[in-house]
């Protein structure tokens, strides 16, 4: 009978992509219990948001996450616009969808690359990140920055795209779609990846709902839950069908994310003609400060549902900004998944929820 012991796992660990810390209670090679601990990358961001004025906060909250930054600023701006009663121009809504989907594609590419690296498929990892570069270049071309694009403003977007730029976006999208084919095929068909992931961290739909899981973790259990169905920004005008899988395991989560890259590309195909057909303003000036009140927005990040809660008491400074990140919602599901697995599978399990610990600890 092997002795029961506790192994600290993370926050610094060669196999971990994020500084997550867990106390693993193990017997032999089998994990029996998990105690997660947080706070290693806490930055006091929500407190800082109370010290900056509400316009400066757009840039602050955008830096909550280094990967899906645009969607953070979008969530904050939606909440502020509700509080201020600002009507965003339709063209700005479409541009917000475009940058949001570009962020989703590059975020999923990043995760796919990390997954390929975790299963030891180095050439696939390199190819996936090479494809991601094309999307980042597109961000730079359209917005001026590669990751933190700072394009969202309360009242619209900072830039507009002319017809020539839209042509270049479309040409890049053509190339990105054809490049994605071999990568997608390999992820779907490679036996080694399937052997590592099928059955790993399986949870049922009822368990995922009970544990409050969101995003691809929830959709991989067959639940068609996607905040984009709420129709925020320009999504109300587009055809959004959540990508779901029935497996509930790490492999199903991989398939959901592969499907979502295709879905994002299809959404961009829907947005580009609308941007061509409908010229107009992209930013309405907002000159007043919010009056006392509160607002909440829900947006779909690559990792799941992101919630922004904003409370104002009047004036330039906000009373409270609360950010509920999707990784925070997925952690109970992770803690539920880990026991019963071998310790060597824990890094792949952690990766399967696509954790963003910097978001979670803010």
């Amino acid at each position: 009978m092997a002795e029961r012991m506790v192994i600290p796992f993370g926050p610094q660990h060669p196999s971990l992509v994020e500084p997550i810390h867990m106390q693993l209670e193990v017997e032999g090679d089998t994990v029996l219990g998990v105690r997660p601990a947080f706070g290693f990358v806490h930055r006091g961001l929500e407190k800082l948001a109370e010290k900056r004025d509400w316009r400066q906060n757009v840039y602050l909250v955008e830096r909550t996450c280094g990967i899906c930054s645009f969607i953070h600023s979008l969530g904050y701006c939606l909440a502020l616009e509700e509080l201020l009663g600002v009507e965003v121009p339709p063209r700005a809504d479409l541009l917000r969808v475009m940058w949001g989907e570009l962020h989703r594609i590059q975020s999923h590419y990043l995760w796919l690359g990390l997954l390929a690296d975790a299963v030891g498929f180095e050439s696939l990892f390199m190819q996936t990140w090479r494809n991601r570069e094309r999307v980042l270049d597109l961000n730079e071309l359209t917005a001026g920055n590669r990751i933190v694009v700072s394009m969202c403003r309360v009242g619209g977007t900072a830039r507009d795209l002319d017809a020539e730029m839209l042509d270049r976006v479309e040409a890049t999208l053509d190339a990105a779609e054809s490049e994605f084919g071999p990568v997608e095929h390999t992820f779907r068909e490679d036996g080694g990846i399937a052997r590592r992931l099928v059955g790993l961290g399986r949870i049922t739909r009822e368990e995922a709902l009970g544990l409050g899981a969101v995003g691809p973790v929830l959709r991989a259990t067959g639940e068609a839950s996607d905040s984009r169905l709420l129709g925020y920004a320009g999504y109300g005008r587009l055809q959004v069908a959540p990508v779901t899988q029935a497996g509930g395991d790490a492999y199903a989560r991989l398939l959901v994310r592969l499907g979502e890259i295709r879905q994002s590309m299809a959404l961009l195909r829907q947005v580009l003609p609308l941007l061509r057909q409908e010229p107009g303003e992209t930013l309405v000036p907002v000159r007043k400060d919010p009056t006392a009140g509160e607002a909440l927005s829900r947006v779909e990040q690559p990792r799941g549902e992101l919630i922004y809660y904003v409370r104002a008491t009047g004036g330039k400074l906000l009373d409270r900004v609360r950010i509920r990140t999707p990784t925070f919602a997925n952690l109970p599901a992770l803690v539920h998944m880990v026991p019963g697995n071998e310790i060597g599978q824990v890094p792949a399990l952690v990766l399967s929820i696509d954790p963003c610990v910097s978001c979670t600890e803010r």
Binding site: Q56, Y59, L60, R63, G144, S150, P182
Partner: protein, 125 residues
């Protein structure tokens, strides 16, 4: 096997990365890099310094100096957008690497007294 074709094509086509530093970076138009002040246009109104979310700018109205700390800049472009006199611009390339941190200070010429305000006399309300 489909990935193998891609990989073989990659081998034949050479590295996708630029040969740094031999091949210089071609800047993308509209990219956000080093912040510059067009000092002739600046009225030292402090609008940029008040709004900078990172506190990278300091403006002294009396001394007519504009000080920029490039190591605090987050390249958000907010100052460029709000400057009422279009006195700020961002070069498409970032700042060169440096061995020591330093700030950039621009000093404006002494203000020309405007006839409506005069010098020292009370301005009409």
């Amino acid at each position: 096997m489909r990935l193998l074709h891609t990989l073989l094509r990659n081998v034949a086509s050479g590295p996708v990365t630029r040969r740094y530093p031999k091949v210089p970076l071609v800047p993308v138009a509209g990219a956000r890099g080093d912040l510059r002040l067009l000092v002739d246009r600046c009225t030292f109104c402090t609008a940029c310094a008040v709004r900078c979310p990172a506190g990278a700018l300091e403006v002294d109205r009396k001394a007519r100096t504009w000080t920029f700390n490039p190591y605090r800049c987050i390249y958000c472009h907010y100052c460029v957008e709000i400057c009422p006199f279009h006195a700020l611009e961002m070069a498409p390339l970032g700042r060169e690497p440096a061995a020591a941190k330093a700030t950039v200070t621009e000093t404006g010429a002494a203000p020309v007294p405007s006839p409506s305000r005069g010098t020292g006399a009370a301005s009409p309300a």
